[in-house]
Amino acid sequence: MIRAVGKPLEEIIGMVQNFDRILLAGCDGCVTVCEAGGLKETKVLGSALRLYFTQAGQNKVVDETTLTRQCDKEYLAQLGDRIDNYDAVVSLACGAGAQFMVDMYKHKVVFPGVDTCFIGVTEERGWYTERCQACGRCILADTGGICPIARCSKRMLNGPCGGSEGGKCEVSPEMPCGWQLIYDRLKTLGQLDRFEKPVDPKDWTSSRDGGIRKIMREDLRI
């Protein structure tokens, strides 16, 4: 899932301070799972903002809501009857959700309430790590199910750089070497021969480098 972290309160105050009626819109999707922009975080943010503005002697309305998802129109449309009651919205969804809200409510000021970080997993509660950079052309079949693009600091595709020490990346002793993980995994699977085959330079057109991406599934379109 997408992982995000809440923006610092001071940054959000800076964004909304010139607005009197503010709606905080959380999302029940990914940002709820990583506890950055769900119902609970939206309410906590609302309380913090109300406290700040009350103490600052500023009379503002700060309301909260959450939507099932902000990356689908039908849920965003649920704001239609009340969004005009507000001068600005802080979306606590990921960057995709916040931008989809902008698409639907073109005249409304929308601010991001979280920093969207990566596609990752929950190691433990509050500890998330990156697993995928959505390059659009998955190579996990050749790398033992461990992605060197997401997990090698240098994004190397033909084996390690030689800078790792004791299985840790040279960038940080806390960080496993992606290629050590791949090697160990292929060895376990008895597939080390895959490691020996050099790959061609990657085609990045399916990544962000081919321009703004879209998926068109004709089989799903009516």
């Binding site: 990045w204 990544s207 480098d209």
Partner: protein, 289 residues
């Protein structure tokens, strides 16, 4: 250095684009450049224009500089991150390059290595800011340099755009970031340039229009159809169509445009001959330069 001095002295400058080769045989570029060296103030060496891989701008410029020719190198954010850009700029100064032009660079998908990954670590304005920072004696990390480079800095501007207000705002940001000369895309309609320059009154910058050598009716039509922002009057196409010697007519048109720009008080001209650099002497002769 001739380019900056002449521009500041309000003398008409002649720039010529000189694409480095796709390969290491630099002989054609060198001989073309040498054949017009007395009429051209500096050679603009593109940085892999249209995202087509070829010899780098700095490398190509050094080949020409070693022949005693003044050059303008291009720096572009598409293929280099902030370390590489700054490193190349320091190298450029140390190698005697004086003129630097920051360009946006076409998207990778326009070129011949469309599977490549673009860098775009910083953008054009940040690059201009980085050049200014280097010239002040520090790098982008704020660390003091052992000797600061000194450049005459330029960039691009498009007088033919339909979004003129935005273009002028962007120009002002580039000026604030240190750019002093600006090269335009191909200009065929001098009125467009003059209208734009009227809007720039009070700004201390040098606008250098590009005169593109048309090579055929087909090329002219292509420009008309696919580049909305290039105002290419129909009369030029008719002239080429009716001419007994079409190539000579193309050269004639380019030469006339150069002469007209000079007569109308332009800061200078940038000649783009895209592969027909051997026509440069004839164009300049037609223009009376």
């Amino acid at each position: 250095m001739r380019l900056q001095e002449k521009l500041e002295a309000k003398e008409f400058v002649v720039l010529a684009e000189m694409e480095p080769p796709k390969g290491v045989d630099i002989s054609a570029a060198v001989s073309s450049a040498m054949s017009v060296k007395n009429a051209v103030d500096a050679f603009v060496v593109p940085e892999m224009s249209n995202a087509v891989m070829r010899m780098s701008s700095l490398g190509g410029a050094m080949v020409l500089a070693n022949k005693g020719l003044e050059t303008v190198i291009q720096v572009c954010c598409r293929d280099r991150n902030r370390l590489a850009l700054q490193g190349d700029l320091l190298a450029a100064h140390a190698l005697g390059i004086k003129n630097v032009m920051a360009v946006a660079g076409e998207d990778i998908s326009f070129g011949d290595h469309h599977k490549a990954r673009a860098v775009n670590d910083i953008d054009l304005l940040e690059l201009l800011g980085a050049i200014k920072t280097l010239m002040s004696g520090k790098d982008m990390a704020g660390i003091e340099l052992k000797g600061a480079p000194d450049f005459f800095v330029g960039s691009t501007v498009n007088p033919s755009t339909s979004a003129l207000e935005l273009e002028i705002q962007e120009l002002d940001r580039k000026i604030a970031a240190g750019a002093r000369f600006f090269i335009t895309p191909p200009i065929f309609d001098i009125a467009v340039l003059e209208k734009f320059q009227k809007r720039l009154e009070g700004r201390q910058v040098f606008i250098i229009p590009t005169v593109l050598l048309l090579k055929s009716v087909g090329m002219a039509r292509y420009l008309q159809r696919h580049f909305e922002q290039v105002h290419l009057p129909e009369e030029f196409i008719t002239r080429i169509q009716k001419a007994p010697e079409r190539v000579r007519e193309c050269v004639q048109i380019a030469g006339e445009l150069v002469a007209a720009l000079k007569a109308r008080g332009a800061s200078g001209v940038h000649l783009a001959t895209i592969g027909w650099e051997d026509k440069l002497p004839a164009i300049l002769a037609t223009a009376g330069i």
